[in-house]
Structures are given as C-alpha cells and as structure tokens.
Symmetry: C2
Subunit: 349 residues, 2 copies
Amino acid sequence: MIKVNGFGANSKEDQLHALEFQRREVGPSDVKIDILYCGVCHSDIHMARSEWGPAIYPIVPGHEIIGRVTEVGNAVTKFKVGDLAGVGVFVDSCRKCKSCTSGLEQYCDEGMTPTYNGYYRDGMTPTFGGYSSTYIIDEGYTLHLPFTKNLEGVAPLLCAGITTYSPLKYAGVSKGHKVAVLGLGGLGHMAVKFAASFGAEVTMLSTSPSKEADAKRLGAHHFVLTTDKNQLKGLKMQFDFILNTVAAVHDMNQYLDLLKVDGKMLVVGIPPEDNRFNAASIISKRRSIVGSMIGGIKETQEMLDYCAANDIYSDVEVIPMDYINTAYERVIKSDVKYRFVIDMKTLKA
Amino acid sequence: MIKVNGFGANSKEDQLHALEFQRREVGPSDVKIDILYCGVCHSDIHMARSEWGPAIYPIVPGHEIIGRVTEVGNAVTKFKVGDLAGVGVFVDSCRKCKSCTSGLEQYCDEGMTPTYNGYYRDGMTPTFGGYSSTYIIDEGYTLHLPFTKNLEGVAPLLCAGITTYSPLKYAGVSKGHKVAVLGLGGLGHMAVKFAASFGAEVTMLSTSPSKEADAKRLGAHHFVLTTDKNQLKGLKMQFDFILNTVAAVHDMNQYLDLLKVDGKMLVVGIPPEDNRFNAASIISKRRSIVGSMIGGIKETQEMLDYCAANDIYSDVEVIPMDYINTAYERVIKSDVKYRFVIDMKTLKA
C-alpha cells in the first residue's frame, strides 16, 4: 500500500490508499481495463492538494491512463478482451447537450464527469483515477490505441497531447504559419511536436537558455530567450499563433505584441490568479485570445490515430509508484523531461 | 477664435486656436472639404489632454468629419466639387503592407496616419482634425456619403459607427445569434442598432436602470442590469457574442461566463489600465476575447452604404463650437445621448 502525501489535510485518513478502493461493477456498456501506465499531470498535484477547490477525499489521481481490456459488458461492441485502451480526462457527460452531440463533450453544459475527483452522473458515486490497477469505463468514453511500441510515451497523449493538439487544429495551424510555443514543459513539448508536424515554422519562447538544444531536438526551428528584451522586440508582429502553456501569472502584453494582424494567442495554461492584458494589445491588430481545454472523444481518437501514423509520442521518465511523492516535488520544480509516467506493475508488486 | 481648455499644459500657447492653422496645399490626388459637422469622440478628450501619451500641440481634434467637396486635385477621379464627403479616424497609411493592400489600413504595419495629433507620411507635417472649417485629404482615404438627410447623424458613423460595425461583421453576427452589448454610450448605441439590424437578438447590459427605455427604443430586445448578480447568473452561457464597449477597468470574468461554448467577447473599449480575466473563464468553454479597431476604407464605405440603405444614424445632440468645453465635461460624465456633433457653421460665425 502506497501513501501519497500532500493532501491539504494532514490526517492519515486523508491520505491515499490506492489499492483499497472498490470500483463500480462492470455495466453492460463498460469495459474493464488493467492499467499499464498512468501519466503524472500537474493538475493531479493541484487536485490532490485541494488547490483547485476542495478535493473529494480519499482521492486517486491520474487521467492519462493506458492499459489492456480484461472484461467487457454484454452490450459492448467497440472493444474486446485483450485490446489496448486509453482513458483521458473525463469518463462521461450528459450526452444530450449541443456540445455532447457535436463531439465536444469536454464543454458539456452540465459538466463532464472527471476521471477522478468527481462524481458519476448519479451525483454520489465518486470517480477514482489511474494511479491504480484497474479502471472501469463506458466504452463510448474509451479510446482505441493503435500503437505497437513505446506505450509509456502514449499515456500523456491523453491529456498533454490532446490539450495542445486541439487548439492548434481549431486555429487551423498548417504549413506556412509561424507558431510560437510559450513554455517548454509537459504541454509545451507536445505543442512543439504537433506544430512542427503540421508543417508550421516553430519558435520556442522560454526563460531557460538550457532548454534550447532540447527545443530544437523536439522540432522547434528557432529558440528565443524571453528574458532578452531585445530578442523579443525583434519578433514584433511575427507570429500567426502563440500557444501559451504558462501556468504562472505573466505579462501577456509582451507576447500579444508578437502576433501579426488577426493573430491568435491560444491559452491552455491556468495561472492561479487572473491574467492581465491591455485592451490596446489586442485592439491595435485585431488579435484574439482563445481558450481551449483538452478535446472531445472524437478528436482525441483522431489525435491518437495521427500520433500512431506519424510516430509522435510524449518524452517521458518512467517511474515506480513509490517514487510518486518525489515526482510531485520535481514536477513543481519543472524538473522533468517532460512527463512522469508511472509503471503500474510497480503498484501490484 | 475659440479656445479649447484642458490640454495637459496650462500655458496659452498650448491652447487651441482652431482657425489659425495653415493646412497643406491641395495635391493632385487630394480633395478639399468644407466641413459641415464634426462628431465629438471621447478619444478627442484623451488626446487633447495627453492622456494617451504626449499630444502634438497645438492640436485640432475631430475625426468624425463630414462636409462638401470644394476643390479637387487634377488627378482626382472619385470625387467632384459639390459631393458630400467624409473623413474618419485616419487619412493615410503605407499603402504597401499586407494590411493596406487587403483593405485593413487601420492595422498598417507602419502605422496609419491619424486624422489629427499625428504626422503625415513625411514624418514632420502635423495633421489637424475636424474641429475646423476645412480638411484636405487624399481621395483614396475619403468616404462617399450616399445620404440625403440627417447629415449631423452621419458624422459619428465615421468612428463610433465603424468601430462597432466592423467587429460584428468580423464575428459574422446574423439572424439566430444572441448578442449582448456591454455599455450604452456612443459606441454601445451604435452596436445595438447594428446588431439588431443584422437580425440578432440583442440584450443591453448596463449599470444604469434609467437606460432601459432608451436601449429598447434603439433596438435592444432585452435589458439587464449588471449590478443585479441574480439577473446575471441567469444569463450564464446565453450569448454567442458580447460587444464590450467599456472603457473603464472592469471584471471581465462575470461577462465571459455569459458566453456559450465558442462564444466571443468583442473588445472595442480601451480602459486606462490592464483588463483582468481568469484563464479558466475562456478555457472552460473555448471562448475568445477578440480586439477590433475601427475599420478599413473599404469596410467603412460598406458600412456607410448599409446605413444609408437601412436608415441607420447616430443619435446626436448638435452643439455650437463654443459649447465644446462643456461638451467635454458632459462626455466624461456620460451625459450625452449619444454623441455630440459640432455644427461647423458656428465656427465661422
């Protein structure tokens, strides 16, 4: 039994006892997945520590889940025992609203059902995430994984991958576009890979000179140190899009100025406080600031198929379950290239 | 000779002596306009008082100008003596960049030449605005005015009109859309007229209960008091677009929450300090914040033709030139329905 520290409250009762939780039974349209790998997302830490509102304790984090189907309900048609399967950030939604019926379940009017730290549609059965041995989920919210190798590098695609793929697709990024990626972390490294793969000329904007070599290895054509105001000045009105992954409070104006007329800043990071920007920064060149959150089931499947076809994976550091507290501390210090992925064999050991 | 007070510096030299300025000569492609009416825009006050950076004194404000052509250069083809003609917020641009060649001169890479408080392309000849008897301008930056009545209500279309028409068009507002207009002033009253005319269901969001009757007279279908948090709560996720005209610092989050999935806040007001918004407010429903500034010559002409065809005018209070200082004070107190327009006959008297 492994305990995960840092849950806001300090009592032992509030700590995680991952193996103890009884999951729901396998329903007619459910698949049961034996978890192979689960990515460690920064939001796991925010939620485990009640930094995004009070968590539902006890909590089992993890929403970048891949594994193998071990059981299927009698109405299941899309999966069979032995298939690889993935679970992302949500596991259900109202299924009736315009967002749900148009493949944008993540924006469900009634709210999606999060993979953990939430309740199923009954409003009372808690969901438990992927730092665990199994997950039971409706097949309609389960992803096919057409991969034959590097499964550990597939897990983070379920959150970090789709979070960056979706806004780049929504914005129509393609050959001929100049795209800047702001921040090289779990999200940023996937954004560079996707933008480059879509044919764009990619510039990494970073505060760390040490990241230049890595940015270029990931596919960035240029690297600019944002602490060098002269370099930034030379980039005014250069980009069609900036994918902004920064989750700390920052001055948006200096980056908005780098966008061309009609340029768009695609925001996927959520700083703990309000962002600030001067209206003139967007008005003066008809720029937009566009928010985007993960992706729907259909688009997530499209992204996974695209990654399999184009050999795109997340760069990961595989860890055993009992390294999780150290991993959390390293995530907070941005000391990971670029995603921790838990090998779930180590939980069963 | 009329002096306009409030120019940052207090010396008499810094005051306006409108009739004294010598304008440039009429060049081959220029038209000379005898000014009939000039609208009073809030930006006139900001610029006259150096609130948007140091003004170029002496200054003649005014960029909502209409009049009659009295002289044309020998290469002029689009105007003849006796025509009605209009001048908006800019009078030249580089004519070469992508924005200029695609009819978006307002976003010119080298910067547009403002109608006043700026320099012509030579970088040294100052531009003087419409609180004056005449304006000399290149015909390519001059607007045709296909109006036969209510000329005083036409003048503000050159700034307040196009500033609201352009973003509504850019966003594709049409029948079936729900549009909220935030703030009922010079810009807001035009936004209501245009959005309603385009077939949208229009809601006025205002802090002043006294404005309800007027909002509905202008074409709004609904009126909501933004100080009533319960009313606002009931409007969550209701609008496709919010046209935000507010030029004071305000909480954007409570308005962003009113937008549907993929909803857009169209920002045309420039508060003196940074706007604030929480990234979650846009990420959670893929919302956008879109800036927009006036419009290009082609679109401004399109707007004027549309207004003439659909009987759309600005609601104005016509004033004599020597009322200007009182008018400024009243604009600052939002005590005008909805635009002051100077009758330029009173300048010559």
